[in-house]
Amino acid sequence: MTNFDPLRTDTGMSESAVMLVRAGIVVGGILALTFLGAMAVGFVSAVSEGGDTSAKDIAIIGAIALAMAGVIYAAWRFWPRATSGEALSGGPGEVRTRQRQRRQMIYFGIAALIGGAIGFFTGFFDQGDGSLFAGNFAELKLPPMLALGLAALLIGGFIVLPIWGFRMIDDYKREQNFIGFTGGCVSVLAGYPIWAVLYAGGFVAAPHAFGIFAIAYVSMIASFLYARWRL
């Protein structure tokens, strides 16, 4: 909200209802945040002490963490609506903006569901000793039908969703996404040969597929965030 915008304080709800909604958001947000923090601390301490961190555990923890993050995000999104009546105000432009935001939320929700499903099923039904997230991913064994289903989900998550998203965003956000994709692409072009020569020199472990994927993904996210907040 800018200085030019009129203050909006009418939520259209009774005072007690507003207080109830606010209390629910605060309690839900704090519980989810506490749960997520405790889970992160527990997992890090288990790893550092050499405890059991099997793929199945990671899948279950990841699924719960995703759900908790969703609760925190929902609390953050719903707080202004419950406190300022933002959702009830405005002209036709604001209605269209909220429709756009709803479409974006649906997009992110579907993306999170697909990502969560891939991570969860991969970890939970792994029949081998490998992991998608480590150098030994070649030892990963999945039931054939599940593997086909996950491949379909990956096509949806990495091809269909981005194309759908690109059709939905405007020039400004498209520019940010281009910077993000460029950052990911350049990092792989430079990252793989750098990793290979460092391996040849005995400095690091041999390059592996997930490492290259991670370089691309992390660089893409970092470049996007740089474009989002700095440019």
Partner: protein, 64 residues
């Protein structure tokens, strides 16, 4: 590029979300244009000009 978008919006008592919806762009795009962080594409500049019933050069000025 400097522009008068924020002033024109204020004159109509529109929020950034209201203007964004009328232009079919995100609120962040309106904010970025207003603060000079982002120059709109030519089609969007025309949409802005039509919305305010002005010429593009009356809203945007690269010499301000």
């Amino acid at each position: 590029m400097k522009n008068r978008l924020k002033v024109l919006r204020a004159e109509r008592d529109w929020s950034q979300a209201e203007l964004a919806g009328r232009l079919d762009v995100s609120r962040q795009a309106v904010n970025a244009i207003e603060t000079g962080k982002h120059d709109p594409s030519l089609p969007l500049a025309f949409r802005i000009a039509r919305l305010f019933d002005m010429r593009i050069e009356e809203i945007f000025d690269d010499e301000l």
